[in-house]
Symmetry: D2
Subunit: 131 residues, 4 copies
């Protein structure tokens, strides 16, 4: 990961996911599959994959290369497809900005586990927050 | 809430949300806005609303009226629109099944806060899990 | 329908759908189920329902009450759920704006046929076009 | 294109799009940008891109390699992101199946124009029709 630092959100700390790569139009987070993320069937909750995709897609459009110049976004819409079942011990999400302009942007991403299984794919529309 | 009991998932316990109403084709969860759900802008993380919508829409199609006869679902796809900014102290999600058949069903839901502000709306497609 | 007139698009003329109600935050279109809208299974093509939802949701945010003051929008994202099978002779779509601000807005809508069957539901995010 | 033949739907004939490549888990359609597909701003209507994506994603999961053995699908949900503005004279959609099982499958696709501009991306969930 680059030396541009982005402090984790309270929610990222609570769930245990971390930004492990960040560059222009790209971001990756990783997360251990802890017992506390399980749904009533014993699998990682769908909300976990949605959270990882929302975080990674959002920040993929916020790279500035400068820790002191932070850009914030608001999610306008999020779409998640639940394609496979997570195994292994970690979830990895990678996302990239796919288009947009000064005010809004589009991104897409994928969640895999550390065995390489495709777990979920997502798309989103985001808005840059003024100021 | 009815006396049909559904034990909370590990993830629901970790985030602090609870099923407060459940009947045929309908479910409601409520959740305190704790400090640990905040994103880097200090607002409830978008993944929280996605989690609440996924949980409530999914279980809206699982009512049997009998605690011993449980139905499980898998989320196929989830769509969330982030419409307003949460204030107040609690989030409330209400969801209803809107259609479907024996194998798959459709649902929609809305997240509001306890001041009545509309925060997010969602739709989803779910699959009943055999067995 | 009100006496505020909005000329149909070329595509609306080609498919045969017409604006039959329009007011602040609301729009309705209707469309005969012609033979030329059928898919390879003999049902109205999913793209027809998407078209009706996109048109009705988009224009639901464009009411000004004045035929000479037109507002244009761009669709940012569109989500459609295909819930039922159309019968009857006409499709009806009703849509409403559900939120948003000066630059972007959210809408939702439903397509039914003239027997009252729910065929599809949709949500969308739209952007006002400057100028 | 392969010599496996799939007759166009009535709607495909009415809009003028044709299957130009089809193989296991992949499909491409092409379509001239005719005057009759324009919206009230003079651009191809968003419903056109939705139609192309729905058609291509759906049929990407229906390849059998045998014109006499046809598989049919129903679209459960469709998501479209409108990323760029179409120019040129033709629209091209390419789609691939990304996962799924015996009953339902997932697909994604992209619409470009013949200048190479990315116009729209989409995802969908589909159900195989029994029989």
């Amino acid at each position: 990961m680059s030396d541009v630092y982005e402090p984790p959100s309270a929610f990222a700390l609570h769930l245990g996911y971390e930004l492990t790569e960040w560059r222009e139009n790209f971001a990756r987070y990783e997360m251990p599959i802890a017992a506390f993320i399980r749904n009533r069937q014993g699998l990682p909750h769908g909300g976990v994959h949605a959270t990882l995709l929302d975080s990674a897609m959002g920040i993929s459009g916020c790279w500035t290369g400068d820790s002191d110049r932070r850009i914030m976004t608001l999610t306008l819409s999020l779409n998640v497809q639940y394609i496979g079942r997570a195994g292994g011990t970690r979830l990895i999400v990678e996302a990239r900005k796919t288009g947009g302009g000064r005010n809004t942007f589009f991104a897409e991403g994928a969640v895999t586990d550390d065995t390489g299984m495709l777990v979920a794919k997502g798309t989103g529309v985001f808005r840059y927050r003024p100021g």
